[in-house]
Structures are given as structure tokens and as C-alpha cells.
Amino acid sequence: MRTDYRKYLGYAVLALGLLVVIAVAVPRERSFLVNARTQGFTLQPQSHLSQVWPFARLALCERRSASSGGVPGPFCDARLFNQVLFDDASVSFASGSTVQVALTDGGDAMVIYVRNDGDIALHIDDKAVGSPATLVIPAPQSSVIGALPLSGRLTVGNIPASGEDQLLEAGEYQIRGRPLLSPNAVTWAEGRLFPGDKVSVVAKDKAIIREAIGHASLRDGAIGVQFLTEPGNSYLKLERLGAEPNYVGVTWIQRSLADPLIIFLSVFLALLVAAIDLFQRIVRPRGD
């Protein structure tokens, strides 16, 4: 009778211990929340409808050969571009294109440069524009532009070099995930971004940039970019001048420290083992 109850108690302790090990060891998908203040970012849209950006006024800069004449305008570089102005136009980007967005001239203009390997780069309302396409938003104001939705593969900032002006200024990131048996995501780790960092979130193979959803908005003289990546086995790729790229993931210790189930089970297990030990000492005196 007595052996039975000891055996079952042993099994229970073992089972609880196993549960803790499983909760720690089972890989959990994580997503990255990034918030940055930057002079520029790059977006590869998921599909041509994933974002439509309305602008009250925009200039399309059409490339012409250096020697030919044309109709230059104040917003496009007269040496190489002719200018076409649009009022109240919506811009959408072709899938497969690469969209570079930057603030220039101390925030007096926003330049959107889109490349798509010789194909259609973007649409202004219904007008298709070939690659490479250059758009200038004169005197951008946050109250007029509002939030620009972002959906696709995002890279924020650029590695500093002579003449580089698309630098990240400041920011932070969080690594978030849902613990085992929990409905809510918790923050597993967080960190700061430093001026000049180039940030993206990459998949396990560290090459493919993960899809993200977010938005960009103007914040006094800079672009605020905030995005959340799809859950997965991802890493935050941090590139800094003079250093090899750093891949920030999350360790099992960081995950465990933020997991209520693991903390609860660990404490409960410790108490249980102590209680059993105590109980045995009291009920079964030495020499029994």
C-alpha cells in the first residue's frame, strides 16, 4: 500500500518535470516588433495591392538621356529628368519591385524610387510607369500624408558610407512569442537600435527577409517605421559598419524567464519535492 503511493508520487513528479522540459524545449515561433526612426527604408511589396499610398501632390521624374532636352521641373533633377505633376493621386507598386523611400533636403521632400528589372514598377492611379521610376513628394507633411501602410519584406536604414543619407537614427525591437498553452504573446527579449544600424528580419537560413506588416509615418524630420513580422523561426539581422552581420534570436533561458507556465511548474515542482521529502521525514521516522 505504502509503496504504491510512493510510486505514484514519483511518477507525478517525473511527469511534472517532463512537462517543464517540454515547455522549455519545444521550439516556439517568434515574431519581431521593430520601431525605428530613420531617413530611409526599403520595401519589397508582397503583392501589387498590398499597399496603395494616396498623395495630395506628387511629381513623377521621367529619365531622359543626358543630352536631350525636355521639360524639367523644380522637383526633379533637371540634368536627367523631366517632370510630370499629379494632384490627388494614388500610388501602388508592382509585385516583385523594390521600393526605396527616403527623406531628402532635411525633410523638404520625400523620394520614392522603385525598380523592377525592366518591368512595370508602379501605377499612379491607372498610369503604368516603367522601371526604374522616381517619384518626389514635395513638402511632405504628416497631417496630409498620414500613415503609409507597409506589407512585404522590409529593411530599415543603411550602412553608413560617404554620402549615405538613408540612415537609421534610433529605434528598438522586441522579440515576442506565445508560450506553450497560453493565448497571449509575451515579450521574450528586447533591445535598442543604434544610429547607422541596418535592420531586417530574416528566416532561419538567414538569407530570406521575412514578410512584415507595419506602417510608416512622418515624425518631425524623419520617417517613423513600425512593423511586426509573421511568426516563425526568425532572426533580427543587424548590420553595423565595421562588424559582421549580427543575428539576434532568443535563447531558451530568455523564453523560460518570460513563460508563466514554466515558472509556475518549476516552483510547484520544487515545492512538491520539498513537501514529499518533509512528509516522509515526519510520517516515516528514521529506522522505519
Partner: protein, 234 residues
């Protein structure tokens, strides 16, 4: 026995070497570096080469020295695409030189490395100034390319400082669109421009480098390409 073997080689050693040693005399100034890793390179024009078949006996250097460079000090510069190999060697051009292509033996401590490289991986040029000075005009130089005569085009290797589009503009307004280099570590150069000799204005052509980055025109730089009095291919 030994002495006689040695002596039998003497006529070989004494026989006239390729014209170059008489045309270009090393000044003793120069250096060569081969480093583990290179991350940055600041030179806009990394090299000016020309197409041609691979040289039969690499490593070999072929340069084009215009006739009006006679008697001048010149600097032969090489940089590998990954920026790890850099060399600069100074020469004085013979006073009687009339202009043309010259084969040069490799002056290097890394012959095995240079031998394996294609012209596309090693950018070279020859500059009409002493090494360390940057003000002279440029002429073509290429590694491991067989003897060339009056090519149809020169290839200019450019470091675009991460531009998206690059083109060269001649004084007559002819524009040459450069192609991005897609492979390898693009440290020393990342764009290749094929400049037809037909748009050159010999003996010196001032070419402007137009760069577009993120939709914006970058500060324009230029260089003088010396093509001398290269006769057009018949």
C-alpha cells in the same frame, strides 16, 4: 660541368627581352598588398581595360601607353574586385615611345594568385602621374589579356558607392549605360561600362560619371581617358 651548363643559358639571358623593359623603366616606387579582408574602397574609377582573348602565359599585364606620354612618370594601379589585392608600381616611359600596347611581365610576390584571376576580377589602369598623385589622365591596362590592337571598346570598372544606375557621358553628349556587376564581392568596383572607342575624342576624352541612387542624382565626378592616337580598327 656546372659552369658550362650555366654558360649555355647565358645567351638566353642576354637575348633582348620584350620591348617593354626598354620602354617602361621601374622607378623603384610602389607597393603591393594582399590582405585577408577589405571592406571599403574609395576610388571612383577602379580600372580601364579592354576585351580580348586570355593571355597565353599568365600572369601578364598589357598596358596602352599613348605616344604623348613619352618621357613621363606613370603609375600602374591594380585592385581586385574584392579589394583584397592592391598594387601600385611607378615607371618612366621611354623618351622615344611612339604609343601603343605593351606586354609587361607581372611584378609581384603573388604570381599564383594573379595567374588565376580573370581580367574581370582585376581592375587595372595606368595613370599619367607619379604613384600617390591623383591628378593625371588615365589609360587602359589589363591583366591576363592577350595582345590587343585597337579594340572597339574599352571597359571601365567603376565604384559607384552603392548607386542604382550609373552612366558615362562623353563631351559630345553620348551616354553609355553601365551594367551592375552581379557576382562576387563588389568592394573595389560594382559597375562595368563598355565605352565604344567611336565616342572618344582622342587624344583625351573627359568622361563624366552620372550616378543615381535612390532616385537622386549624385555629385558628378569625371576623369580624363587618354586614348592617344589609337588608329581605328581597319
Amino acid at each position: 660541368m656546372r659552369i658550362s651548363t650555366l654558360l649555355s643559358f647565358l645567351p638566353l639571358l642576354a637575348s633582348p627581352a620584350p620591348a617593354l623593359s626598354e620602354v617602361l623603366s621601374p622607378t623603384g616606387v610602389g607597393h603591393e598588398v594582399f590582405q585577408e579582408a577589405a571592406k571599403i574602397s574609395g576610388r571612383a574609377v577602379a580600372g580601364i581595360g579592354f576585351p580580348g582573348p586570355r593571355h597565353g602565359d599568365p600572369p601578364a599585364m598589357t598596358v596602352f601607353i599613348p605616344g604623348d606620354w613619352r618621357g613621363e612618370t606613370v603609375c600602374l594601379e591594380t585592385i581586385s574586385q574584392d579589394g583584397r589585392y592592391v598594387s601600385e608600381w611607378e615607371y618612366v616611359v621611354d623618351g622615344d615611345w611612339t604609343g601603343g600596347f605593351l606586354d609587361l611581365p607581372a611584378r609581384t610576390e603573388y604570381p599564383a594568385y594573379l595567374k588565376d584571376q580573370d581580367a574581370a576580377q582585376l581592375a587595372a589602369l595606368i595613370r599619367r602621374s607619379a604613384c600617390g598623385q591623383r591628378d593625371g589622365g588615365l589609360s587602359a591596362a589589363a591583366w591576363n589579356i592577350g595582345a590587343a590592337s585597337a579594340p572597339d571598346a574599352l571597359t571601365v570598372e567603376l565604384n559607384s558607392l552603392r548607386s542604382d544606375e550609373v552612366s558615362l557621358v562623353s563631351p559630345n553628349g553620348d551616354e553609355v549605360t553601365c551594367q551592375p556587376v552581379e557576382t562576387g564581392y563588389r568592394i573595389a568596383f560594382d559597375f562595368l561600362c563598355s565605352v565604344p572607342t567611336a565616342i572618344l575624342t582622342p587624344p583625351v576624352t573627359h568622361l563624366e560619371i552620372l550616378r543615381i541612387r535612390g532616385g537622386r542624382v549624385q555629385p558628378v565626378q569625371g576623369f580624363d581617358l587618354n586614348s592617344g592616337d589609337v588608329p581605328a580598327r581597319p
